[in-house]
């Protein structure tokens, strides 16, 4: 085991997969000479060369479109969108092509491609650069949407995504890049579509993922001091959505809080809580609570921005409501 940052874990996953398979290549804005706008591909250009680490024009439709086309020929592209906010300029290619071509042509070809993108707020980047629109992408059958909360999961899930014959949107929360965690040595893969209990407990189930995991773990520590043991289930992927560990936990605790960074309306919490009611109604002892971003375009001002984002104390308050 080594202690790595999320950034290092993601970088290692790509590096090792590119060493393993010459068909894996990276394309995106500033991924090459610059080394990645979040330094995730630092050193890749010098080691793998410009053919495999391809700087693109600022043209998101071309980036995703070229990734699709090259995947149709058998390559395994990793397309980097500088942030998920820029995915809207490529929305047609993500929604109408990436998610549909395999099905629409009767399964004649596969799209073994990964779209990596930074998601989330909290960095005073203003309304257009701070969104957490993860749930939108999870709406579309045909796409897989993965978003890790720990370095270990980030590395194992990204390797799985690169080796998958299905298109995977891999969302990396920007403020988690510096988070450190234990990462197993050597080659390992974590299957996509498996939720994981990240903290055992018996009193309440907290369902979350990505940045929400960090917040929820802190909340759980504080709650433990008050004698409340929260069980935290990390979804890790939004589509496929693995509800089994959630339901199993809920049947034990009979209480749940869903924590997400994105807006509450039509979000992950809405989906997860509906499924809890559908699948475990007889076990409900309190209404499921949702902790999410306030319904406002994120402002630049730090205090205002933080007030709109879900905080540790919001999770604690929600847990106390359901207890």
């Amino acid at each position: 085991m080594a202690r790595l940052t999320m950034r290092e874990a993601i970088s290692q996953a790509m590096w090792e997969e590119m060493e393993r398979d010459p068909n894996v290549f990276i394309l995106g804005e500033e991924v090459g000479v610059w080394g990645g706008s979040y330094a995730v591909t630092k050193g890749f250009y010098d080691h793998f060369g410009g053919e495999r680490v391809r700087d693109t024009p600022i043209a998101e439709a071309a980036i995703i479109g070229a990734a699709i086309g090259s995947a149709m020929t058998g390559l395994r592209p990793i397309a980097e969108l500088m942030t998920i906010n820029f995915a809207f300029a490529a929305m047609d290619h993500i929604v109408n092509e990436t998610a549909k071509l395999h099905y629409m042509f009767g399964g004649q070809f596969v799209l073994p491609m990964v779209i990596r993108a930074v998601t989330g707020g909290g960095r005073q980047l203003g309304a257009t650069h701070s969104q957490t629109p993860d749930a939108i992408f999870a709406h579309f059958p045909g796409l897989k949407v993965v978003s890790p909360g720990t370095p270990e999961d980030a590395k194992g899930l990204l390797k799985a995504a690169i080796r998958s014959n299905d298109p995977v949107l891999f969302l990396e929360q920007a403020t988690l890049y510096q988070v450190r965690g234990e990462v197993p040595d050597g080659d390992y893969v974590i299957p996509i579509g498996k939720s994981k209990v990240q903290r055992p407990g018996k009193d309440v189930t907290i369902v979350t993922y990505s940045k929400g995991l960090e917040i929820s773990l802190k909340a759980a520590e504080l709650l433990a001091k008050e004698g409340v043991e929260a069980e935290i289930v990390d979804l890790r992927s939004l589509r496929p959505l693995d509800m089994d560990p959630v339901i199993e936990s809920f049947k034990k605790t009979n209480r749940a809080v869903v924590v997400e960074e994105g807006w509450k309306s039509f979000g992950v919490g809405a989906e997860v809580s509906a499924r809890i009611y559908e699948q475990a109604f007889d076990y409900v002892d309190a209404p499921v609570r949702r902790v999410a971003q306030k319904e406002v375009p994120l402002p630049y001002n730090r205090t205002l921005e933080q007030s709109a984002l879900p905080q540790v104390e919001d999770v604690i308050a929600a847990v106390k409501e359901v207890l």
Binding site: L75, Q108, V110
Partner: protein, 321 residues
Amino acid sequence: MDKQTYLDLYYQMVLIRRLEERGAELYQAGKIGGFMHLYIGQEAVSTGLIAARQPQDRVITAYRDHGVAINCGIPANQVMAELLGKASGISKGRGGSMHMADVTKNFWGGHAIVGAHMPLASGMALGDKYAGRDGVTICMFGEGATNIGFFHEALNLSKVWMLPVLWVCENNRYGMGTAVARASAVSEIQQKAEGYDMAHERVDGMDVLAVYKAAKKAIEAVRSGSGPRMLEIMTYRFRGHSMGDPERYRKQEEVKKWEEQDPIGVFCDYLTSNKKATNGELDAIDERAKADVQKAVEFAEASPEPALETLFDNIYAEEVQ
């Protein structure tokens, strides 16, 4: 070009025409659903173009794709079955008129979002270049698609990376009902290639041999590594944009004038007046095409509907719980 090739091109054009005429009847009869865009009038474009490709050259096009499918070698049976939404259709009844593909024939669809397939073409060409193969990607699109951003992103990328793409604009003079001059800042679409430092040429799209010659030259130029280039092929569709077109935007006299240049008639005249074929031989081809379309209709009608339990097949390549 030998005699057999001439006759084969003629057969393909007639087959497309007859297949679509029957398709229109079946659509009116309610047996074909959704949107259907006929290629009638434009047959010389894809017939000449695709005759000029090598097997390793990929073809990708927009939603007016029945003719391209036939030219790429998809049997009429499977095209007709797809129009009827049957399990035996080339896309297993999932795609319909606008989404036909057969990757074993290097035909990659059939794409219904205007211009969205163009960045895919750059990607396919990148795939061939990356792997060291000498294939050329032939990307067809209507002139209306040159006004959307995808076109510009795709052309720019193909030039920056010197990708082996032949961009083929089928200029049929109307994007749905909007004439070129009402939608495009430049009247000659080929001028747009200048912005991306690409060689370009305008071609008479009612003359299958003119298309073939220009395409042959352009494809081999791209294959030689000289980078992407563009053909603007001037053509005209005799039918509406789709089956539900009131055609208020053009006069019937205009259509009639173009019908005098029917690409099948033009080619027929060429073949007989240059003694490449006799009227009897061409009549026999007409009959064969008619019979093949009749067989295709029978095949499609007799084919089963896709089984309901296959609804979820192929959403993903890998098992998802």
